[in-house]
Every structure is written in C-alpha cells, then in structure tokens.
Subunit: 324 residues, 2 copies
C-alpha cells in the first residue's frame, strides 16, 4: 500500500461529527490533547481484535467496526466510567474502500451514540488486526474494581448469558435451532457481532456494586477474576443463570450448563453488591430495561463452587471458548 | 497459544519497578486509572510497528522493545509533553520466553529512564505487531503543534539527519562504509534500532518553538506536514542539513542529498522559531549536548523549496523510505 493510500484511510476517520469540549486537539498532529474534567480520574483500556480469533473471518465489516469499539466501551462500563474518546490502530491487508466505509459506519454508529470522539490512529499493512484504546472519566475514588467483593455480598449479572456463544455456534454451523426457535437465530448472531456495552448501568452501579467486571471470558472465568482479586470465594446457583429462551431445547447439543458458564463474548456486567441493594437493583433493571439477576453469593472460602439443585458441579473447562 | 501461556506473557509485563503517584490503578483490572495533574492537559499518541515494515525481521528483540516505546515517546517530545504512562498491545506468533525477556529488557530500560509506567496491555496470537499508546502531560495552552509556523521563522533540526537511513542500508547490506569509516557502522545501525526520543529538548522548546514535529517520515515530508498545517512555505538550505560525518564519502552511492532529505526514522525534532530565539537555542544545544541546526526559513509562499548553492532542487521523491 502506498503512503497516498494510507492517507486516504486516515481521511475516512477524520469525518466524525462528534466534537467534545474536552478534546482540545483531535486527529492531525503527533498527539491528541485532552482535558480531563476536574475531580475525575481517567480510565483507559486497550483491546486487540484479530480476524479469525476474536471474530470469524467472514464477519461483516460494519459489525467488526461496531464490535471493535463495543468491547472497549464494555471495559469502561465495568469500571463505571463515562466513555469520552478512542484511538484506533488498524492493520489491514489492503485498501478496500467498500470495507472501510462499512467499518466506519459500524464504528461511528456506536461512537456517536455515546458521544465518543476518535482522537487519533495509525494504519499499517498486514493481516487484519484492530487495536482500540479508549479513555473515559470516573469520579475520584468511585471506580468499580475487581477487588471489593466481601463475604455475604450477592453476585449479579445483567442481561442474558451464553447467547453470544450460541450465536457463534449457529454462525459456524455447529448448531441449528429447532423450528419453533428459528426466529431467534438472527438475534443470537447479533449478540455475538453487536454486543451491548452496559455503559449506563455501569455508571449507575457506582456506590452500589462492591466489585465488577465485564463478561468477556465467560461467567465462571470472569467471576474467578473477581474472587482472586478480592481474596474470597463464591457459591454460584447455575440454574439461576439468565439464559436464552431457546437454551433448554438445545441443552444437550451445546454441552448443558457448561455452555453459559464458559461461553465468552456476552459483554454483560458481572458484579457483587450487598443484600440490601436488591431493591435498588430491581428499580435499576426497570429503569434501564435490562434484567439484573442474582446468581450466587460471595463466601469466605476461596474458589468458585457451582451448584445445580444443591449438587456441586465438576466442570472440566470453564474458560474462554476460542473460535478455532 | 493457550490462555495459560498468555497469562504468563502478562506476568512479564507486571514486574516494572516504576510506580507513579498519578497512576491510581495499574495493570490487573478492566481499565487503568490515572490522575492527570491540575493545569495540565493529557497528550496521547498511538503507533503500530509491524515486523518487516517498521523494523527488519531479524531485529533483536531487545531493540524492538526499545524502539517500540521510543517512537511513541518521540511523539510526546514533539508536543513538548512529559511522558507518563504507556499501554502495550502485542500480537506475537508464539510464546517465546527468551524473546519476551529480551523485549522487556529493551522496553523497560527506556521506560525506567523516563519514569514511564506500563499501565495496561493486551496480547494475542498472530504475526508480530506491536502497538504502543502513550500518555503524557503538558501545561494547558502550551503544547507545540504543527500549526504555528510564521513567515520569517527559522527552521531548526536537532541532532543529525539521515543516519538511521544509512544504518538501514548497512543492515540490509545495500551499503558498506569505506575502510576509514567502518567504525561508524555500529553507530548508524544503533541510530536505526535505538533512536533517541528528544523528550527533554521538546519540553525545553515550550514557549520558544512556534511549531514542531518529529522526523519519522523524513525531513522533507515532515517539514511539509508543518507547512501544510501552518499554511506557509519554506526555503530549505540542503547543505545545512546536519549529516553523518561519513555522508560525503558515500554521497554518490546513497543518492546524494536526497538521502538525508527523504530518509525517515531519525526521530529528531524539526521545529520553527523566531530569529530572536537563536541565542537561546544555542545555549539549549550546549545544555542538552545535542546539536540544534538552522536549516532554512519559513516563507509566505506555500510549498517547500530546497536549495543547493542558490540552485532550486527538483527532488523526485521526498517521502518515507520503506524497508521493502
């Protein structure tokens, strides 16, 4: 790719309408200049997405654009931070105008929805890889961390769990839904390609949640991250997991309860809060039109114990499901 | 690569001794939390380095580690910002402990020298690609930009120009220095692999330089960036370029003056300042033990005009020299 071609890639990314007052200098110099509001700290996170690893190779450019920002916004959500700006580093095999136009449509639809400004980027030639680096703001000493879970706290999760994983199986033709659930296929694939970062709920949880994380590796793996960081354990009531309405009909095919426990990519929020917060969370669920389900309780004894009808499960694998 | 292997990559990057007071939360959660000093703005920049494009494939891991941070610090330097923290996104073909140990040695040697803390990262499996995202601080309204060059301003450059390009030719065996200059080969290759980000001089130029950029694409191309951003032109006295002491002996072989004009990767600072600043810059050069050379003057008429002995040059190519 020539320099001129790369220049034209940059032109694609300079057309955003969002212009934030805290962005003092955006794209076009050696650095962007940002003014962080007083009494706030800056939350930053970086995510790499590689074609064929983090999304199937045949994924539509618009979905890749959306998802590459969504996973980063989800990191901000899990700290309770308000998204502000993003930089984008794209390695791409070729200058493909149609692909870039579609990518930008997906990326900017989400960026514009959250008032997130693209403030810098770099582009190079190589296998398709996208690295996003987001910045957001959160009140000092308020950010949700993984470290605050205490014995007695309840464990909650937003939305539904395992749907992105089912979407992947459908997309890879490893699963076909029974006729009466065929209409759900598109929604499950949408859950995979267009996860909803729980940005508003993340901020609403400030002062309520004692710890939080987003579900990218799977409920079991991500809850383990909280448990290890907080030095506690948990009892998880597996049947309380808020699964897809079609889950019971494909139960055997997808590996039973291990599926929602281990499937990644849902980008829901997994958090802990005191028992007294239950009413408040109930109201929050109504306000944001998003289920908030209690799925377990923090215990003093380290480790994660998963129960079905009071029987302790032994799960062989509770990690992230790789695409290949 | 398994998750466990990736975890061990993360362990390599969690061992830094630098602990900054403005880093409220470093590696280990969904985001890092940073407290930007009052009255400062945050300068951020992102750079991708791809093996075989931004550095020759056989480059030592320690040099790659050093250079991947150096190019980002150079972006901060060109704005006059003080480096603070960095995130690192590495795509690597395999978990190679020796390679990672060497990479970290190079990366942290430079990070520690400037008190830069690694606050986050991501690692994936794929062709070797390194994306660094740096953050630094600069007093409000003080940052050096590309936009402030005015007719009459002089054009200056730090250090020497074209040495990294000569180092690349030597490394690629496209050039052999004459016997009396053989001893310079190692230094020229070092200029390629271990550029010196002009961090201190960048900060010292605050309030003096009217515009600035770092020389990554080549003097001619980067000066053009300033000219376009400032809406001015310039006269460049090519023979004033501070070239390597061996340059005249390889003059014909390397393409004459086009070499220092077009060669990239020197990471010197190219800036403009008023004629009255000359004495101050002279003192600065002595203080930082780094040449600061006047190479031209800003003019009202747009465009870059390069002169040798009052003769206008016509340069076919003034862009970045790709590795391949």
């Amino acid at each position: 790719m020539s320099l001129t071609e790369f220049q034209s890639i940059r032109d694609y990314f300079s057309k955003q309408t969002v212009q934030r007052p805290d962005v003092k200098l955006g794209i076009g110099d050696d650095c962007a200049l940002l003014s962080v509001p007083e009494n706030k700290v800056l939350a930053v996170s970086v995510d790499i997405m590689v074609s064929g690893v983090h999304f199937p190779e045949q994924t539509a450019a618009e979905d890749i654009g959306y998802k590459s920002l969504a996973v980063s916004l989800s990191d901000l959500a899990s700290m309770g931070a308000e998204p502000a700006w993003v930089t984008l580093a794209i390695t791409t095999p070729a200058m493909d105008e149609a692909w870039l136009t579609d990518y930008c449509r997906g990326f900017f639809s989400l960026a514009d929805a959250y008032g997130v400004q693209l403030v810098g980027g770099d582009t190079t030639h190589g296998p398709l890889t996208i690295t996003t680096h987001v910045g957001g703001y959160v009140a000092r000493h308020q950010a949700l961390r993984r470290t605050g879970a205490k014995p007695g706290d309840l464990v909650f999760v937003t939305g539904t769990i395992g749907e992105a994983g089912l979407g992947l199986k459908i997309k890879q033709k490893h699963l076909e839904l029974p006729p009466q659930y065929q209409h759900l296929s598109a929604r499950l694939i949408e859950r995979l390609n267009r996860p909803t970062p729980r940005v508003e709920i993340g901020q609403a949880l400030l002062g309520i949640a004692t710890s939080a994380i987003d579900v990218s590796d799977g409920v079991a793996a991500d809850l383990n991250h909280i448990l290890e960081a907080s030095g506690v354990g948990a009892r998880l009531e597996v049947q309380q997991l808020p699964v897809s309405e079609c889950f019971s009909t494909v139960f055997e095919q997808v590996g039973g309860w291990a599926q929602p426990l281990a499937a990644g990519d849902d980008y829901e929020l997994l958090f802990t809060a005191s028992e007294e917060s239950k009413n408040e969370l109930h109201q929050m669920a109504a306000e944001y039109n998003c289920a908030i389900t209690c799925i377990g309780q923090i215990e003093q004894q380290p480790g994660l114990r998963c129960y079905i009808d009071s029987t302790l499960l032994e799960l062989e694998s509770m990690g992230y499901e790789h695409f290949k």
